[in-house]
Amino acid sequence: MWLNVVWFILFVVVIAGYLIMDGFDLGVGILHPFLAKSDEDRRISLNSIGPVWDGNEVWLVLGGGVLFAAFPMVYASLFSGFYTAMMLVLLVLILRTVAIEFRSKRPSPGWRAAWDWVFFAASLGIALLLGVAFGNIMAGVPLDARGTIGGNLLSMLNPFALLVGVTTVFMLATHGAIYLSMKADGAYLARIKRAIPRLMIVFFILNTALLAAALLMHEFITERYLAHPLLIVLPGAAFLAVTAGWLMVRRGHYFRAFLLSAAMIAGLLFSAAAGLYPNLLISTLDPTYNLTIFNAASQPNTLVVMLVMALLGMPFVLLYTGGVYYIFRGKVQLTPQSY
C-alpha cells in the first residue's frame, strides 16, 4: 500500500518537474510574438531554451512512462478516453520541435516569421490542451465499469476546464518571462521586466477565480479539504511562494523569483493532487468506478522494481541536468552554431 502512495507522489513530482522545466520554455514560446520584437530578440528567446528544451520535454515522456508502468489502468483509460485531445497534443508537440529546429536554418524573414508563429501557436496549444485535460481530470470524467471514458473533444471543452487551460497559459507565461529576464539584455530585457508584474496580476486573478470555481463546483475536492483541513498547507505554500515571488520581482532578484515561481507551480499541482487523492480518475457516473492509486496500480513487485530504477537513475538525472544548466548559465550569446 505504501508503494502506491510513494508512486502517486513520484508521479506528481514528475508532472511538477515537467510543468516547471518545460513550463518556462513553453512560456517563452507563448510570449514570443508579444515581447520579442526583432530577429535578434527572437533568436535570444530561442537560444535561451536551446540547450535545455529537449531535456525538459523528457519529463513529459517520463510522465507517460511512469503512468504506464505504475498505473496502467489510468494510462489506458485516460489516453484512449482523451483520444482527439491527445492527438492534438502530439501534433503541437511535433510542430513546436520542428519550429525550434527549423526557424533559424534560413535567413529569409518570411520563413522565420512563419516558424515564429508556429512556435507561438504550438507552445500556447500545449499549455492550453494540457490545462483543459487537467481541468477535466479535476472535474471527473464519464468513466464506466470497464474503465472506458465516454465523450469526445467537444464535451471536454466545458467552462471549468477552459478556465484551467487559460490559467495554465498565464501561469507558464509568467514563469517563462521570469526565466527570460535572466537570459535577455538591453531593450528586450526592459520590455520583459515591464511585462512580468502584469502577467502575475492576470494569473493571480485567474487563479483566484479557479480556486473559487473548484471549491464551489467540485464536491469531491471540497469535501476532501473540509475533511482534512491540514491539507490547506499546500495551497498556503503556493500562496506564500507567489507573494514572495512578487516581492523578489519588485526588488529585481529574478533568479530567486524564478525559484519561487517553480515552487508555486509545484505547490498548486500538489494542492490539486491532494484534493483528488486517492483517486486518479473520478467517475461522474458512479463513484465505485473511480480509478484510484490502489485499484489502477501495477502489482507490488513491479512497483518495487521501478522504485529501485528510479532511485538508481534520478541522482544522475539531477546531476547532468544541473551540469548543463550550469555550463549554459548567464545571458545568451549568439554564435554561428546557435538557433
Binding site: V66, P72, F79, Y83, V98, G147, Q299, G313, Y320
Partner: protein, 464 residues
Amino acid sequence: MNPEFLSRLQFTITASFHFIYPPISMGLGLILVIMGILYVRTQNPVWRRLSFFWIKIYGLVFALGVATGIVQEFEFGTNWSEYSRFVGNIFGSLLAAEGIFAFFLEGGFLGLMLFGGNRVGPRLWLFSIVMVVFGAHFSATWIIMANSWMQTPAGYELAQTQYGTLAFMTSFPQVIMTPSFLARLWHTLVASWLVGSSLVLSVSAYYLLKGRFEESARAAFKTALPVFVVFSIVQAALLGPQSAENVTDYQPEKLAAMEGVWEDTACAPMTLAGWVKPETQRTVGLKVPCLLSWLAGGSTDTVIQGLNSVPRDEWAPVGWVFQSYHLMIVLGGLFVGIGLLGLLFAVWGERIWRTRWLLRTFVSTIFLTELATMTGWWTAELGRQPWIVWGLMRVEDAVSPNLTTGQLLFSNAMFVLLYTLLFVLFIYLLNEKIMHGPEPVEETTPIASLPDSFRDVFRRHARA
C-alpha cells in the same frame, strides 16, 4: 475501414516513420565518437571540421527522432488501451526505465554536444558526444527489450481482474532477458551502425564525385569504410543467421512465414528469391536444397515446422513477411560485396577516389541500408501477427474499444499530413546542409583556453 484496421494503419505509419531516424542516431553517433577520439589524439583540424559538420546533421536527425518518438510513447495508451492494461505491469516499466536512464542522458547532454563545440574543450565535448551516443544505444536497448517481450514473453503470470486477464511480472530478470532479446539487440545495433556509416559514406562519395571538400570527404570516407565493411560481414555471417536460428527455436510459425514453408519439412530448401502463393500453398523461386534445415538445425535432417501446423487464423501475412525478409537478406549480402569492393579499391593504390562507378554505388548505400533495416523490422513485426504478444494476446483484442472511425480517420490524416511535411523539411534541410558542406571552423576563442574538464569548468567560475 473499421477502427481496428485504422489503428493498425496508424501504428504502422508512425512506427515506420519513426524508425527511419534512431538507427542514424546510433550509427552516425558511433562515427562521431571515432572522429572525436581522432581529434583529441591527433589535433588534426580536419576531424574538428568534420565533427562540426556531422553534428549539425546529427542534430537534425535527432530532432526528428525525438518528435516522432514521443508519439510512440503515447500511442499504446491512445490506440491500444486493452494492450496497455494487459501488459502495463511489464511493458510499461521498461518504457519508464528508458525514460529515466536513457532519455535524460541524451536530452541532458544533447545541448552540450550541439552547442558546446566553442564553449568547452575537445575532451569535454567528446565526453558529451559519448554520453548522447551511449544514451541513444541504451534507449534502443530498452525498446528492443520491450519488443522482445512481445515476441517471446517470459517472467510473467496471467491473472483475472475486474479489467480482464492481465499479465503480472513474476521475475524481472526473465522479463528483460527473454530468449530472443540478445540476438535481436545485436542484430539491430549492428544494423544501425551500418546505416550510420553508410550515411557518411554516401555523402562523402557524393562530395568526391563533385570534387568538393575533398580532404574532409576522404577523411570521413576512410573513417566510415572499415566500420561498414566489418559490420556488414559480422551481420551477414554471424548475427543475421543467429537471429534466424532464434526465430526457428522460439517462433517457428514466424520462420515458416519468412521462408514460405507450408508443411513440416525435413531437408527444407532455402528460397533465395521467389514468390509465395497462399491459395495453392506453394512457394516458387530459386531454391537451394536442404540449406534451410542445415542453417536452422546444423543438419540437413532438421525438420522445419510448416504453416499448416497451426490454424489458418494464426498465420502471419505470409506474402508480406516473405518478401520483406528476402529483400533484407539480399541487401545484407549486397553490403558485404560493396564493402569489400570498396576496401579492395581503397588499399589497392587508393584507386577508389578515381573509380566513379564505385563512388556512385556508395552514394546509394544510405537508401539501401535504410531499406534493409526497415524490411528487417517489418519482418519481425509482421511475422508476429496475428499476435500482439506472442501466443497470449491477439492484435484485434488489444485495440481501444471506444474509438470511432471518425476519430481515427482524423488522426490518420493528421499523421500522414504532418509526417509528409516533416519528411519534406527533413530532406530539404539535410540537402541544404550537405550542399553547404564541412567548412573550416571559425574559432571564436582559442581552443586551448576552453575549459576541458569538469574541474576546469568549476575553477573558471570561481576565478571569474
